[in-house]
Subunit: 340 residues, 2 copies
DNA sequence: TACGGATGTGAGATCGATCTCACATCGCGA
DNA sequence: TCGCGATGTGAGATCGATCTCACATCCGTA
């Protein structure tokens, strides 16, 4: 443990000035004589001085660190966003601390608790719960700016960047209906409750607007993992009078459905038509390629980061709520249904 | 910005003791009267006191943060490892700061530079370069423990957790040879130089041990992205006398090869046999499923984290170098070649 | 010439937690 | 009863950077 530790004091001594003067020279504020400043800078350079951010943080109360709490960093959706956020923050000399909630409210609470004592400057969150959010409200009230992504917290007024889940789901189901389907299954998620509910609403609204009665038995619920989705798919398609089409609410569920249907020997789109929410690279590798509702994923992270940085810079304006539209990408997984 | 800021001083005042005594009670060291201690704890509880980690860090010189510098957090390989590391660190109340080098040495240098001034306790790195690593050596000499994953730095003696790239590649090519192939293409990577070289060596060694002459024209080089791999694949298979089999050095290249071959109308395994390095979920969704050399990815992160935590706890033993074996997972992408 | 503003610089306080040291007080054995 | 060790507590220093304030100069102008 050979701690280097070139401190301001060392630089000041080397330049034969006081710490105060050295600080002024290095941070260029206040009055400093040209020659003195030069001597300080030269000394700092020579010694390899690097300011201790922790000490700065103690005074200012803030570390140049932003916390990101995604549902799951392994989910490519969040991994992409994390990457984009990091790139944006780096431009402003901030670091990103990622702490995954694993879609578990209790863990989310613990994480925020521990991040709070770190004097973190701001947070970008994808809240796990749709209801149990008192801890987030409290966090925001303590002064650290918060930007929500993917899901919002009703009780909290702050910047948010989400996607039109309801509209996207509606568009997907509309598309299936327009291809002659009226027994349309839904594979939904029980954890990312907020987005799941919105997508469910889209499903229901589409059916209703086409005068198709809602049949609860066509709705499968599973945790958002490929394995659980496989089981749920098999359950859904094992009953008599099975759906002719399926809408899945996220990419992991879509993958599960793909595997589940294959294991049952049902072919896409001949036996079952499929539309998934969220595009994923796998979607173009299957045969046929999968029709999906794509989210503008490349825009979410940068925008959220920019919002947060603006707040950190002191911008005081009303909270902004951005809701990106989705886009239906038609590929080959939906068949036109003729008669019955 | 309503800074809460319940400090030790507040607690001490509320309990009518000095800061020193309050600290003793809260951290249970030194002598404290039972009754006094109780009063302090009660006051802390009541006020919702939370120790300021930054202040602690200023004294101790270390934040409970570990830095992770992967090649690319969007690569599922690193995302998985990041997740595993985080889980392990969390058990020991440490946070994970992720800073992706994007496989760029210069960026890696900058990142480490900025992380250094953060008083980060230790680092888990996947070095980008095979040669330009002076900055990493220097980092390690400054005292912060470093654990390398996926790739090692020859000049530096420290814990490392890697995979038997050479052996894995050899096994893959051996398998292709045993299926009658002798014109075996290689799609390799020019950025993750260390692993790429080892895998190239495995390819060469396998061919040599089977008495097959190395044909440079069968080796395609591309950056490790799906898009670049597509191009390289098309180039490789456009020439006369094209390979009958292809070995790809990572999962992104494998995906690119898949797309490239499909766009050329070449079917797997009928026209071309394929083996990829690194398993990926997509590999089982294609038809046929892809034969791959799998890495024990679930073991890398936890082990690296454990190594680092041991170093942080002061363990002083010789550096450990773990090299995990790989495993060939035979699926359906390789055909037995009959005659020519 | 003298005075006020502009210019430079340093001493010391501050952020919050922790640690050392000095100073009490108590009890028990000599 | 004295003394010494065990026990309990507080004052102040410390970590490193920064900021306030006070104190020097210097210059130009009244």
């Amino acid at each position: 443990m050979t701690q280097k530790g070139i401190t301001l004091k060392d630089v000041a001594a080397a330049a034969k000035v006081s710490r105060a003067t050295a600080a002024r020279a290095l941070n260029s504020y206040g009055y400093v004589g040209d020659e003195t400043a030069l001597r300080v800078l030269e000394a700092a350079e020579r010694l390899g001085y690097r300011a201790n951010l922790v000490a700065q943080a103690l005074r200012s109360g803030q570390l140049p660190i932003v916390g990101f709490v995604p549902g799951d960093i392994q989910n490519p959706f969040f991994a992409r966003i994390a990457h984009d956020i990091e790139v944006e923050l780096r431009k402003h000399r901030h670091n990103l601390l990622i702490a995954s909630s694993e879609e578990n409210v209790e863990q989310e609470k613990e994480l925020l608790e521990s991040l709070r004592s770190l004097s973190i400057r701001g947070f970008i969150l994808a809240p796990t719960s749709a209801t149990d959010n008192q801890h987030i409200v409290q966090l925001a009230h303590e002064g650290a700016p918060v930007v929500l992504i993917d899901r919002v917290v009703k009780e909290l007024q702050c910047d948010s960047v989400v996607v039109d889940n309801e509209g996207g789901a509606r568009e997907a189901v509309d598309y299936l209906v327009s291809n002659g389907h009226d027994r349309i299954g839904l594979l939904r998620d029980d954890s990312r409750i907020f987005t799941a509910q919105e997508r469910l609403a889209g499903y229901q609204n589409s059916l209703q607007s086409h005068g198709i009665a809602l049949d609860e038995s066509l709705i499968g619920v599973a945790r958002s993992t490929v394995e659980h989705a496989v089981d749920a798919t098999i359950r859904l398609f094992s009953r008599r009078n099975r759906p002719t089409a399926l809408f899945t609410v996220d990419s992991l569920m879509t993958q599960g459905a793909l595997l589940g249907l294959r294991s049952m020997g049902l072919s896409i789109p001949h036996d079952v038509s499929l539309v998934g929410f969220d595009d994923f690279n796998l979607a173009t590798f299957t045969d046929p390629q999968i029709t999906v509702v794509a989210q503008p994923i490349s825009e979410i992270g940068p925008l959220a980061a920019r919002f947060l940085l603006e707040r950190l810079a002191g911008k005081k304006i009303a909270p902004r709520h951005i809701r990106f539209p989705t886009r239906l990408i038609v590929r080959g997984s939906v068949a036109q249904l003729h008669g019955r």
